[in-house]
């Protein structure tokens, strides 16, 4: 199954720049469907980016983050070819994990 996470990590000097795009509805719980029923909240709560078992950046998201959320961050201490693990968990307990190699 294809991962819900698309990641691109690029090494630029000593800084790693990471862009992640997650496919997720991010329903806020405030929106109604065409019949007027409230679409229940369904959003990613935590997305973590880790390098060698250590969390580099942890994003705590609320329902105000846009659908198919995008995150960009930068960090030092990694090098080209290193592997990053990106994983998320949402308010329904669903989760996904992927790995990416720094290019």
């Amino acid at each position: 199954m294809a991962s819900s996470i698309r990641v691109r990590a690029v090494q630029n000097g000593d800084v790693t720049s990471l862009k992640a795009l997650v496919r997720h509805p991010m329903d806020s719980g405030f929106v109604k469907d065409s019949e007027g029923n409230v679409i229940p909240a369904h959003f990613i709560k935590v997305l973590s980016i880790s390098h060698k078992g250590k969390d580099v950046v942890v994003a705590n998201w609320g329902p105000a983050v846009s659908k198919d959320p995008f995150l960009e961050c930068r960090f030092k201490g990694a090098k080209k070819g290193d592997e990053l693990t990106i994983s998320w968990i949402d308010n329904k307990g669903e989760s996904d994990t992927t790995t990416a190699t720094i290019a």
Partner: protein
């Protein structure tokens, strides 16, 4: 939608080397509540359910934030679509441990906050929803103190229509 899925699938296939490695290494299959799933138990339910900027900062960090001109916010002054407003925050403040993004007029102000580890640069970019023309506030925790910067966004179409 189907098309989007297919695209995602095709792109996923490009990453088959990585996926193959993961499977080969005996890791649990994707999409299962794997051991690697992040822990959401620390997720601050209360802070995410607090209206108002100052109240939220107090709830999340337990302190008041002072204005700082060392925080750079990059976001459109006019957003045509409130459902997707790109917000980038960068700061020259030292020893940043956390960055939070708040949307003043949303039902709950807190949109997102980021734990920044020692090696990470104080830079985040994210896309947020906002219901109407509003102030967007970014809060940076530097050396244990809270700093904030504010910028207004004019929203021409609200973000609540989905």
């Amino acid at each position: 939608m189907t098309d989007q899925r297919r695209r995602g699938f095709l792109k996923g296939m490009l990453g088959v080397g990585v996926a193959g490695f993961a499977l080969g290494a005996g890791m649990v299959p994707l999409r299962v509540e794997a051991a690697a799933a992040p822990d959401a138990s620390d997720w601050p339910q209360k802070a995410f359910n607090t209206p108002g900027v100052d109240e939220t900062i107090a709830e999340l960090y337990g302190m008041e934030a002072s204005e700082s001109d060392q925080i750079t916010m990059d976001l459109p002054t006019i957003a045509q679509n409130g459902a997707v407003v790109p917000v980038t925050v960068e700061t020259t403040l030292p020893n940043v441990t956390s960055i939070a993004l708040l949307v003043a007029k949303n039902p709950n102000a807190l949109a997102a906050y980021f734990d920044i580890s020692e090696g990470a640069l104080p830079f985040v970019s994210n896309r947020l929803k906002m219901a109407e023309t509003t102030d967007v506030v970014s809060v940076v925790i530097s050396d244990g103190k809270a700093y904030k910067a504010t910028q207004n966004v004019k929203v021409t179409v609200g973000g609540c229509g989905g």
